[in-house]
């Protein structure tokens, strides 16, 4: 009775607050759409390379779709040329020595140039090797002819040495590889967006639920209605349960809206079950709810609540998998394990991109349940401050 009255009140307040409602439902879609466009087309970046006195064969080998080559005629230093023309790099040659000067304000472009140069060198070496083999082939053929002549004169005694020649001919042919790529997850069209989408979904759900629930309970504290509420025979647990269910309903709707949006607007293929995606997000929302309620205890105003975002929310993004965990310094890695978003994002990625089932993600889910339970217990304890029974 009391809990359902609490829930109805929370729903009424929320529905009448159109702006907050819009923030909760539309802002996440806006953010995800931005992310979609930002990380969609980063494959066709091109860099410009200036070259001076470089062998034409190398220049030809360096050229590819992502690299433009400009010949330099002036005698100015490489550095000043980069500054003047905004080239990503300049390659100069003196005898057999190559010098590559990089602008390096964009590491992706620097990487692109280095990679192209390496590839070009490998290409040239292979060409050289191939022409060397051709020459060898001619020599061997000539030798074979000579041997044959000798054999004919010497009889069948030295047959063994003649057999070896065709074998080395075969080796020469084998160096022309062709690569066929198969993708275990995703396709050749997969972009960085596919990698971060599951993380972003988890993040926006977590962030908005945290913010809105935290500020809602804070308002209840600052206007005195929480005190007033505690002057009635309601149990502290009933207040928390009412809040959790009331805002839980909105969190649920929000999650469904976001998941449907990603499925039908971004055409993202969810390999696993959609229900797991929703389940994970609901759990994540509950953790955010409980954490928001708890954190609001330590804030005296809405402004102070916002101050908790850089401490409580932002670090979670870094450890949620946007930066792969195995690329982190080893002492940093354990920090991820105290971040609820890490478990949420990890299981979301598993379900969406790898088609993981319940037995693959139940460990993560359990941790999320644990976080929610921990925050709820702390909430009950901190509410003692207002009423000691």
């Amino acid at each position: 009775m009391r809990i359902s009255a609490m829930i109805r009140r929370v729903l009424k307040e929320m529905i009448r607050d159109k702006r907050t409602l819009a923030l909760m439902m539309i802002a996440p879609l806006f953010i995800l759409t931005l992310v979609y466009f930002l990380f969609q087309s980063n494959n066709n970046q091109t860099a410009t390379l200036g070259v001076r006195n470089v062998d034409s064969s190398l220049v030809k080998a360096v050229k590819n779709d992502n690299l433009k080559v400009r010949q330099i005629t002036s005698d100015k230093s490489a550095k000043s040329i980069i500054r003047d023309k905004d080239y990503a790099g300049v390659l100069t040659q003196k005898d057999q020595k190559l010098t590559l000067t990089l602008q390096n304000s964009d590491q992706t472009k620097s990487g692109l140039l280095k990679k192209s140069l390496q590839q070009a060198q490998v290409k040239l070496k292979m060409q050289a090797a191939a022409s060397g083999l051709k020459a060898q082939k001619e020599v061997i053929a000539a030798q074979a002819k000579a041997l044959k002549a000798i054999q004919e004169t010497m009889g069948a005694g030295a047959q063994n040495s003649g057999v070896k020649a065709p074998a080395s001919l075969k080796a020469a042919k084998a160096s022309a590889y062709s690569v066929n790529t198969h993708y275990l997850y995703g396709s050749s069209d997969s972009t960085f967006f596919d990698t971060i989408l599951p993380i972003m979904i988890g993040f926006v759900v977590f962030f908005f639920v945290f913010l809105i629930s935290g500020i809602a309970l804070l308002k209840e504290r600052t206007t005195g209605t929480l005190n007033r509420l505690l002057a009635t025979p309601i149990k502290r647990g009933e207040i928390i349960a009412g809040y959790l269910s009331g805002y839980g309903i909105f969190a649920f709707i929000q999650t469904v809206v976001i998941v449907l949006y990603t499925m039908y607007v971004f055409k993202i293929q969810i390999l696993g079950s959609v229900w797991y995606v929703i389940l994970i997000n609901i759990l994540l929302a509950f953790v955010a709810l409980a954490l928001g309620l708890l954190i609001s205890t330590f804030a005296a105003s809405e402004f102070q609540m916002v101050q908790f975002i850089p401490i409580v929310v932002i670090p979670q993004i870094f450890f949620s998998g946007i930066v792969p965990l195995d690329q982190m310094a080893s002492w940093l890695r354990p920090i991820a394990h105290i971040m609820p978003l890490y478990y949420g994002a990890q299981s979301m990625s598993d379900v969406i991109t790898k088609g993981a089932g319940f037995f693959d993600i139940w460990g993560d889910l359990l941790v999320l349940v644990g976080f929610a339970a921990l925050f709820l217990i702390l909430n009950l304890l901190t509410m003692r401050k207002y009423r000691q029974v």
Binding site: K12, T223, L230, A231, T232, R387, V389
Partner: protein, 245 residues
């Protein structure tokens, strides 16, 4: 029967002592006014009687049950010092919500809302959002909420702040009526006119009860002509005792 019994109460937050040696009895049907300057400990005493705070020392009994007692809160109507109302809800929704919290039965709610709003003259404004209410209207709604469960004990923290004289007179008439019906009322105030309306007065200053009794007995005890003068005199005596220590 004593509705409220406070015995040798000492109360405080952490190590600071806010109240000491408070003894108080209020019988059924009585109106007790706690008067004292801001910061004297009135609200702390009210919170302790409500059971929001555990007594450091001494005991508090309400309706023959020792406080704190969560279930007993259903029998105590409370009006807080600040108007704790939900602005985005209408007055009716606020009353319904707090009625449900107090455990008023669904069938009685309508009747109770009418009873409570008639007392404070809010009938025509019931379906307006509280956000559009004036300060006085909010105060009246808070009072109506405290009456919603037809409680045996009413605890009102500064009920007359921001209410015009005409309405204050009206509210007092209703309070006297309620008391006659056997309900007990405890209110805090720093307005002397309010104190004069009460059956019993307890003057609190610096966490101590400096005088206690009916308005008439206090006036004759201190040999003055009004409650206000009695309060001022009692305050001076307290200061003299402190400087003698």
């Amino acid at each position: 029967m004593n509705t409220i019994l406070v015995k040798d109460l000492q109360q405080g937050y952490g190590k600071t002592i806010v109240l000491k040696d408070i003894n108080l009895t209020v019988s059924a049907g009585e109106i007790l006014a706690l008067i004292g300057p801001s910061g004297s400990g009135k609200t702390t005493l009210v919170n302790t009687i409500m059971g929001m705070l555990k007594p450091h020392q001494g005991e508090v009994t309400v309706l023959n049950q020792s406080m704190p007692n969560r279930k007993l809160l259903a029998k105590i109507g409370f009006m807080a010092q600040t108007d704790a109302l939900y602005d985005t809800l209408t007055a009716r929704e606020n009353l319904t919500f707090f009625g449900q919290m107090m455990g008023v039965k669904r069938d009685d709610l309508k009747k109770q809302i009418k009873y409570a709003t008639d007392i404070v003259n809010l009938g025509p404004h019931l379906n307006k959002y509280v956000g559009s209410y004036s300060g006085g209207m909010k105060r009246r709604l808070s009072l109506a909420i405290s009456l919603i469960s037809d409680p045996e004990l009413l605890i009102l923290d500064e009920p007359t702040v921001g209410i015009d004289p005409e309405l204050r007179q009206q509210i007092w008439t209703e309070l006297h009526k309620t008391a006659k019906a056997g309900k007990t009322i405890l209110l805090t105030t720093h307005v002397m006119e309010d104190a004069e309306q009460a059956d019993q007065i307890m003057m609190i200053r610096r966490g101590e009860a400096i005088a206690q009794g009916t308005p008439d007995s206090l006036i004759s005890e201190f040999g003055v002509s009004s409650v206000e003068e009695a309060f001022l005199k009692a305050g001076r005596q307290q200061d003299e005792n402190l400087s003698n220590d």
